[in-house]
């Protein structure tokens, strides 16, 4: 249900046992989060009922816009990460870049949470079409991957690739989720509130 090939970053050949230890527990916890969400979405009988926000024509639009804003913040995440890692030529990381990265990430995550709750509570883990199946799997995987990223973030002695990989996986998952939901929704029903 929640196959997570991305849960544990591929270990390089020369990885020391210490690094493995650093990553294993967060990966397991992240996998557990994803599985829990998927199983809940599968077992809970979807109600179709969610909290709506005034000003939007339907819950679908609320979710689509929240997801879209979260994705925009996720793009800020990648941009700021690239700056932090010195990957943008001729751009030195300003002092506030860390704060930007942290807050854009927090906002994106906190925007995504109600969307996910609405999905899982109102619609559940569904498989009736390829788009929906992909969305369900990746949606659960996203929160697992995000959990892993958050858990490994404070750890010292991580290999240099660990955080970029985790961040890239989280970002890729979010964009894929957005494409299979909000993008589809807007292109099917029109771009408005």
């Amino acid at each position: 249900m929640t196959a997570q090939p991305d849960a544990s970053p591929p270990a390089p050949v020369d990885v020391s046992l210490g690094i493995g230890k650093l990553l294993v527990v967060p990966s397991l916890i992240g996998g557990l989060v994803a599985l829990t969400l998927g199983i809940y979405g599968g077992l809970h009988h979807p109600t179709g009922v969610v909290v709506n926000i005034a000003g939007f024509s339907s819950a679908g639009y609320v979710k689509s816009w929240l997801a879209t804003i979260a994705t925009v913040f996720a793009i800020v995440q990648v941009g700021s990460a690239l700056v932090m890692y010195g990957k943008i030529p001729h751009v030195t990381a300003p002092s506030w870049i860390g704060r930007l990265h942290q807050w854009s990430g927090r906002i994106a995550f906190l925007l995504a949470v109600p969307v996910a709750v609405n999905c899982l509570y109102g619609l559940g883990f569904q498989t009736y079409s390829t788009r929906v199946l992909i969305h369900s799997v990746l949606g659960c995987a996203f929160f697992g991957a995000f959990t892993i990223k958050m858990l490994i973030l404070p750890k010292r002695g991580l290999p240099g690739w660990a955080l970029p990989l985790a961040g890239a996986v989280v970002f890729t998952l979010l964009v894929a989720i957005w494409f299979t939901s909000a993008f589809w929704f807007f292109s099917t029903f029109g771009l408005h509130r």
Binding site: S57, L82, G122
Partner: protein
């Protein structure tokens, strides 16, 4: 953008001096955990709010964008049908609210209160009959028709279905007493519901976006054309005879539901022999409803699966009066 991160061998990824772990960025090591827990708390909060949502009690409110139309029919939880199958949630308890409500509405309960006028929350602000809609002409009004078709030829209770001569579509006309409903779709983007009256040998049916019907009756047959989405489709539709028992008879079927917050209206023309043509309209209350292929209507159960929701189709039959 992302590829930049991957350029080069990851194992020799440059250990940038100020590696942006949280400590170097002046963040407390517990902050990521706090973020996670805040997200979890928010999630639980939204979950509880959803559980306590007053809308939850009235399952008919569906996903937040329902219209009054769904209240007119029998609300049937999607899980009630054992044929639901495909929904990953499986067969839940019958007490749980359905993922969306499916209601079989009677579209022609009163002339003039069609789906177009239902006060839905769909985005379009101009529901209603499109200006310029001309009531369908009936036999007798056209000079050519007068000669061959007497006015009294309209049976008071009759159903007609046929494929259109071109365009891969099908048309159904149901007449019951003084009321009439017609539907034309092509199984894809074209669908038009028309309704109106059958009075004094005349059918006056109107629909959205200039949909109109020109029909003349011959013995056991309705011949004419239907205008839908700006295209004219000719047809010659025989009277429907009741089909074999155990299967749904040929005729016009309709189902409405709210799926993912969107009101949909599906229509199927089931032809003698069991073949069918169906289209589904999204935002069924809006003036211009996006239309696509309808899911296959199961003629044994009278249901169709749409995005994990069981649509329960109702027959609009002039012969029996069902759906009127």
């Amino acid at each position: 953008m992302e590829w930049l991160l991957w350029s080069g061998n990851l194992r020799y990824y440059p250990r940038y001096e100020g590696r942006p772990d949280c400590v170097q960025l002046g963040m407390k090591p517990t902050m990521p955990l706090v973020t996670l827990l805040a997200g979890a708390a928010l999630g639980v909060g939204v979950l509880i709010a959803s559980t306590l949502s007053p809308a939850n009690a009235a399952s008919a409110s569906g996903y937040g964008a329902t219209s009054a139309a769904s209240a007119t029919g029998a609300v049937k939880p999607a899980s009630a049908s054992s044929a639901a199958g495909g929904a990953g949630a499986g067969a839940g308890g019958a007490s749980a609210p359905a993922p969306a409500t499916t209601s079989a509405t009677a579209p022609a309960t009163a002339p003039g209160t069609g789906p177009a006028t239902a006060p839905g929350t769909a985005p379009a602000t101009t529901p209603g009959t499109a200006p310029g809609t001309v009531p369908a002409t009936a036999p007798g009004t056209a000079p050519a028709a007068t000669a061959s078709v007497p006015k009294a030829d309209i049976p008071p209770k009759a159903d007609y279905v046929a494929r259109t001569d071109s365009g891969g579509g099908a048309v159904a006309i149901s007449v019951h007493g003084g009321q009439a409903v017609a539907y034309m779709c092509n199984g894809h983007a074209v669908a038009a519901w028309l309704k109106g009256t059958a009075k004094a040998g005349k059918l006056e049916l109107t629909g959205k976006n200039g949909a109109r019907l020109d029909v003349s009756y011959r013995t056991g047959k309705a011949t004419g054309s239907i205008m839908a989405d700006g295209t004219k489709y000719n047809f010659s539709a025989p009277l429907v005879h009741r089909g074999s028992s155990g299967h749904r008879p040929p005729g016009l079927y309709e189902a409405t539901a709210t799926v993912h917050g969107v009101k949909i209206k599906a229509g199927w023309v089931v032809l003698p022999g069991g073949s069918q043509v169906g289209s589904v309209e999204y935002f069924a209350d809006s003036a211009i409803a996006p239309t696509a292929q309808a899911p296959v209507l199961n003629l044994t159960t009278g249901t169709a699966q749409y995005d994990g929701v069981t649509l329960v189709a109702s027959l609009i039959s002039g012969l029996t009066g069902s759906g009127f």
